[in-house]
Subunit: 205 residues, 2 copies
């Protein structure tokens, strides 16, 4: 692979390379929302993005390359956390954001495709783990602030609490097919809070 | 499709059809453990199972057909729950069983492949939901018994509690890549118990 290979963080925003990448990743998301992972095809993505096929093959080389870069770009564009001032408010906002994202007719299929691709491709799995690292790091302060306020036990593992909020919602998306509604989101947040207060996520237990 | 199509529950155990199915599904699991979902190929499965290619194509028709039938057979052969007499004992046994299964070098890749295939194929998604229905129904009595003993609030949704035990472990398998060890299993069980005792999974809240 040559110097055209896109590495996350190396593309100057607003430059031609960045514009091509934005178009191609937008087209990748569109294609997945329409046809799912199985229908994803580099030539179709190139046509949708109005970018030369050769460019897409050279820079992304495979559907996995596209998907790994799509989730990398989602990590880069990751939105800031909500700060409501209370642990319950913060974690419910987080849970509702996750549920809304996974239930979204465009984002839901994208997450399913990324997770499915990650089971088959190490580079996609690594990009997915980085995405969750970014999201968890973004939301972890609401837990560390709650510890500082005395609302959670000292030593509570902030990352474990944030992951505990998301886990039941991903289980609904991927396993049970149960609805991703506000009730499910609130329940996920409440369960994580109750368990965190009881010290389940405190380190060194 | 003709009368050779295998419908779960319709195959006489010990008959030739059942033996062929057992060999083909064993070979499907072997192939997935070796190469993952992407490497799954009907001709390869037929060769491994020492069954004619035509038989495999006619009965299962696609890799999705194989995967959906594999998870259906896992639901049929589903092992009985552990009954320790205490909610904590029962749910920790369940959590450790889930963690051990997902961490297993053969079973882990099979679950990843089934979940990935379910994101692309409705029949596989339906077979996967049935598998979880069977597993959750098998373990739900440990929750209803705890309600009867007064160890959990009346109206606790047993299926939600069992799903809450599994969810963080599936999140580790599919999203975070965090280890599926005994500590993770025990933490998943403890969090579900604390939340259930607090009434988070009680209906009509």
């Amino acid at each position: 692979m040559g110097s055209d290979v896109v590495e996350p963080g190396t593309v100057r925003p607003g430059g031609r390379t960045a514009r091509v990448r934005a178009s191609v990743l937008q087209a990748t998301g569109d294609a997945i929302a329409e046809h799912g992972l199985i229908g994803l095809d580099l030539a179709d993505v190139a046509a949708r993005a109005e970018v030369g096929k050769t460019t897409v093959y050279r820079r992304w080389s495979s559907t996995y390359g596209l998907i790994a870069d799509l989730i990398a770009s989602m990590a880069e564009d990751s939105s800031p956390r909500t700060d409501t001032g209370s642990l319950e408010g913060d974690l419910k906002a987080n849970a509702r954001l996750v549920a809304t994202t996974l239930a979204d007719p465009r984002q839901g299929p994208v997450f399913k495709a990324v997770i499915a691709a990650a089971t088959c491709d190490d580079r996609t799995a690594e990009a997915l783990r980085r995405f969750y690292d970014v999201r968890i790091a973004e939301w972890a302060p609401c837990v560390t602030q709650a510890v500082a306020r005395g609302d959670l036990p000292a030593g509570t593992d902030a990352r474990e609490v944030i992951a505990a909020v998301s886990a039941p919602l991903y289980y609904r998306l991927l396993a049970s097919g149960a609805p991703l509604d506000e009730a499910a989101a609130d329940r996920a947040a409440e369960a994580a809070i109750v368990a965190a207060r009881a010290g389940v996520y405190a380190r060194g237990r």
